[in-house]
Symmetry: D2
Subunit: 370 residues, 4 copies
């Protein structure tokens, strides 16, 4: 109930369905007086759009963003901003055909139990990855606000299947990483690994199967002392938001699960004075200690499961006839959603961080240009 | 700001400091009419208590729970329940000595930036693991409520350092697992691994170092169709709560990070009719799809970092003098907190799940005994 | 910040501006499976629409409701419902002319201080009464849900200026009251008073002035034992929502301010058994005691101030030139908004009450028709 | 469910019962570094304490405040502050005797329906006015914080029964008003009216009856541009909090219900430049327009009903035997609670205003003394 609003002072409210009229987002709590680059919003959205390459679903959507409130004279007014994209290239035939089939690892059964069979099942309705287009639009505005305070967020594909990019990019400016990433159809920043990942996705596609992967996200410029202990820790807030992205099954900050095998003497990040600033010599903590930012880059990785939709025969249940059946989905789908998750992770992280900074009073309610 | 309350209909509010007068919790939203077993609360608390074995901190606290509101004639009234334990065996000398030293991977610097030097640093104040005693008291009440609806939660130590218990316990009743666990000083349910883990912790202790580990949590009996898509997914709510436990750096549901290497055809959980019930033949999803419960056991594992406090010389900064220093903590501390995290994970998970079930209207506001 | 969402489990999010593209509302938390009468939504909206009679603003808007999400096969799905109306008959000329004039008792100055001059001032932007069209759309859906549980809400004009309808309508069915009300251009249910009120508004209009009044709201069929003590009292929640309607300056429940002059022996409502039911012989409490419903009708009245916009010369300040000026607004406006507030009060009250009933678990998350 | 926490960034959580062990409050979100005057907290509490004069209930409670967390070196740390008073002079005999009697205009029936008979009925339990001692403690801390920003809150008894103090005190410093008020056992600031009110209360007491009244509250120094339109209007937030005080049945801001009889030309508050500042020549708006502060004093009055407890025979129902009965309460009680409501109104208003100022970023999270 009331599941579609996130945030304390900076709130986003998601609405729309995959095969309904539109998918949209309301952003509430934006500081007033910020001049927005509307083209940037469209660009961000294009990164999530289906049909970008032959590695993604063949659904073709132009996904042109419309903004219908909250902007006046090209600037934010402080009022809620409503953005949406329309759904055009809809093909619901497969969903009608299989509406009584419990697709394995799809939300069919849990949604049935929750909504009593009334939810819009076409294209997975509210459970579709398409809903995250709203997050991306919200994030595109949020990132512009954060950038005015020199906070930037960058995510990339760290792994697809067993192809893992172990490189560390600490000293490379995001601008360069971004250039690399935009050259890669899988959103890798490592050219060699990118090719291997591409190859893997193509093979998986030929097999009519799907594959998972890992997205890494890095935030630079986030000030120290923000966030909170206990129930509003930065990890709590970020993970809460990240798990609202369909298909995410894990998150770890800094050394994460590797930390479980470490000794304290290995894991601990020593403080040091460097050019008058207090920094750590390494960043096992991922920029967060006690739920509060340390001033070091915030770093986390997330586990993306393989898409549930595959075109291989699967055993499952027909819930109407209550019998075990074999089933094969023949509609269009993504063999790997990792590359398309990348911009979504950046977006939703931006939203959470702006909320934290507004709570802290770090960002004023009216933007003062300098 | 306002960081210490969690929940929508079932709220817990945490208060107190490690070296202050007490550590407590307010539970608000409990259904009325539930007869509580007060001894059970004390028992749960005893599992988290310091000084249980020679593997934990030598701080000796009896931690006797006091309940000062919300119970009348031994039953819940629906009013807020306030519980607390007093702090008695306090030794703040080490903290006074080092109050200008930024202890590596401790919250000293981030807290300084957030609270301007006014926070109670003694025993890490609000950032102490001792705060989770409040979670355990809340959880002990919550678990009793859930058990009336046949929902039970069980956590155990899956790994300490590199000692990993890979066994699967799907078909074994919690009652038996609990018996095993209570025999193990490290809260393992695998006797052989338990001995190895113990041995490891003892070695680490001798080295004056610390070690991390993994806790696994399983929930049985949780009904299908609870939770929600988007911002109130069960993964969102559980991870939010789990990251409020000090020292947690990762969480994964079901196959989690292993899923990133899987194909859809491997990962997908086929539905099957079994004795008239709709179940899956395996549980890669960890009992949650689309943020909503499937009716299968909910399963997740969490990464516990090695405690930051070690008695080995470390390089760091004196923030008062603004100079690089070497520092060695000589106070008492835990070489490994994993075993003590186990009851905390159970507790906070119980709190989140009860909130979800109250939101769904699954649990009534007044308990009707049958 | 984040001011535009109301509710705990049943949430509404308001967006749009008076002279922007549209005015809309998102409803989140609707039970699934409810068949909606879309015509009813339009009818409710028509009651708030400008240009209904020569007593209201001459702004002509068709205000055709559009629903773009959350409905599938004519039923609610449990997903957020987005409704909006477009703005068409916009005339912003007056607002451009006076944008540096602080209109007396208008939001110009307080908005300037809050939003730094970036808010959309045309037609009062977010502060316009037109925003309440969103409330009415949400309320029209909510009232349909409540009516399935035999809960009905009725509001009417109790006073305009000094013309006060003192009659009590306790024993008359809402159906009849509604018929009366729909015959009255001022939404009175007392024919004689209606004529006096009309006469008064016409005089006020000729004077280019405006006038206030009182709206009374009655809820029948609301079950006993809902609401809560302390911070979620029904009075707290209703008043919170009511004061979000522009122009409201007071609210009282039951005897309200009259109770301040009463003795306990006069004010107290004795309980009595009547046909096996526990009821009170009178209802000074307005159906709420201790913040919780008694099962008697919930009753409250609200104070509506005279519209600030009048076409009479007024002294005030030019904020740009920082000088005292005289000013006369010549645009279109309402001489009295009381009749148009009536449907808004019903709507927002419905929203609050449904939220309370969902919190209580009184209304299930999936509608079961009988 | 979860009814006992109020606030967004500055949260208070109420707990305890009238005849339980204690009554307390948790304050969460206090800026760090504020030196508190603990004596002031006790003084504020003494103003609400029973047994202050022969006009109030003869219950004798010393009500000594205890602070058990959140303060370190006499300053706020930013951590939750827990304060409580113990219950000592408890006499529950009357409540045991009448526990099946539905006391007229008491919460007995609505609480029974909500809590199924499990709530603590002794001394009205959670519904007792004694719960507001927690509000007063929270307010005493909040007022100290607000005073550092030159914001002060003053409430007084404007009416008891028909004895109404019509005087206006706009130009008199609060310091003087406070001196007057503290001389009056009924908390009037008009010596003549005070005597009349006292006389009235004494007569009512002899009659074993009770009487209502009006409390007026004025806030000076509150900055312009704070609050918000729509759902977080200052009126919404203040009224929400005020109606959490037992016995309140109405609230009006500025001209309030008088505004309903006014023309716009009478009601409107013209802006004027006065010594370089933008102010209004009068304050019908009560310092709030469009839900946002104007910089003028915030003013509201509240309706306090006569206490339900009287020692006069009343007809009502025995809910156990399901029969109509006559009943006469013989326990101790207040003939008029208006004077004791005065400090509670100040307190809860302070809490709401501080929350708004933290949301606006007007008050920093760490106090910087100057």
């Amino acid at each position: 109930m009331g599941d579609n609003t996130l945030g304390t002072l900076f709130k986003i409210t998601s609405f729309g369905e995959s095969h309904g009229k539109l998918v949209g987002i309301i952003i509430d709590g934006t500081p007033a007086g910020i001049e927005l680059n509307l083209e940037f919003i469209q660009n961000e959205l294009d990164k999530r759009r289906p049909g970008q390459s032959d590695l993604t679903t063949p659904r073709k959507e132009k996904d042109k963003v419309k903004i219908v409130s909250g902007i006046f004279n090209d600037k934010t007014t402080g009022a809620p901003i409503c953005l949406y994209i329309e759904n055009k290239d809809i093909d619901s035939s497969e969903y009608e055909k299989f509406k009584n089939i419990l697709r394995p690892s799809h939300v069919d059964y849990s949604a049935l139990k929750k909504y009593g069979g009334y939810s819009d099942y076409r294209g997975s309705g509210r459970f579709s990855g398409r809903i995250t287009a709203g997050f991306v639009m919200a994030g595109a505005i949020t990132k512009q606000i954060l950038s005015k305070y020199n906070i930037s967020i960058f995510a990339y594909t760290e792994a697809i299947g067993r192809v893992l990019d172990k490189d560390v990019y600490d000293s490379i400016p995001f601008k360069e990483l971004l250039k690399q990433r935009e050259n890669s159809p899988v959103r890798s920043i490592n050219q060699k690994k990118s090719e291997e990942m591409e190859q893997l996705v193509k093979e998986i596609k030929i097999q009519n199967d799907s594959i998972g992967g890992i997205v890494k996200c890095i935030i630079r410029g986030f000030p120290a002392g923000k966030g909170g202990p206990i129930f509003n820790s930065l990890e709590s807030k970020i993970s809460h938001a990240i798990f609202s992205i369909p298909g995410i099954k894990g998150i770890e900050f800094g050394a994460g699960f590797r930390a479980t095998k470490m000794k304290g003497s290995e894991h601990n990040d020593p403080w040091i004075l460097k050019e008058g600033k207090v920094v750590t010599t390494k960043n096992s903590s991922g920029g967060i200690i006690g739920g509060i930012s340390t001033g070091m880059p915030i770093e986390f990785t997330i586990a993306v499961k393989p898409p549930a939709t595959i075109s291989i025969p699967q055993k499952t249940v027909n819930i109407d006839k209550l019998e075990n059946v074999e089933f094969e989905f023949t509609g269009r789908h993504d063999p790997c959603i990792v590359p398309r998750v990348v911009p979504v992770v950046e977006a939703i992280t931006a939203v959470v961080l702006l909320d934290s900074l507004l709570i802290e009073g770090f960002i004023p309610k009216v933007f003062e240009s300098t």
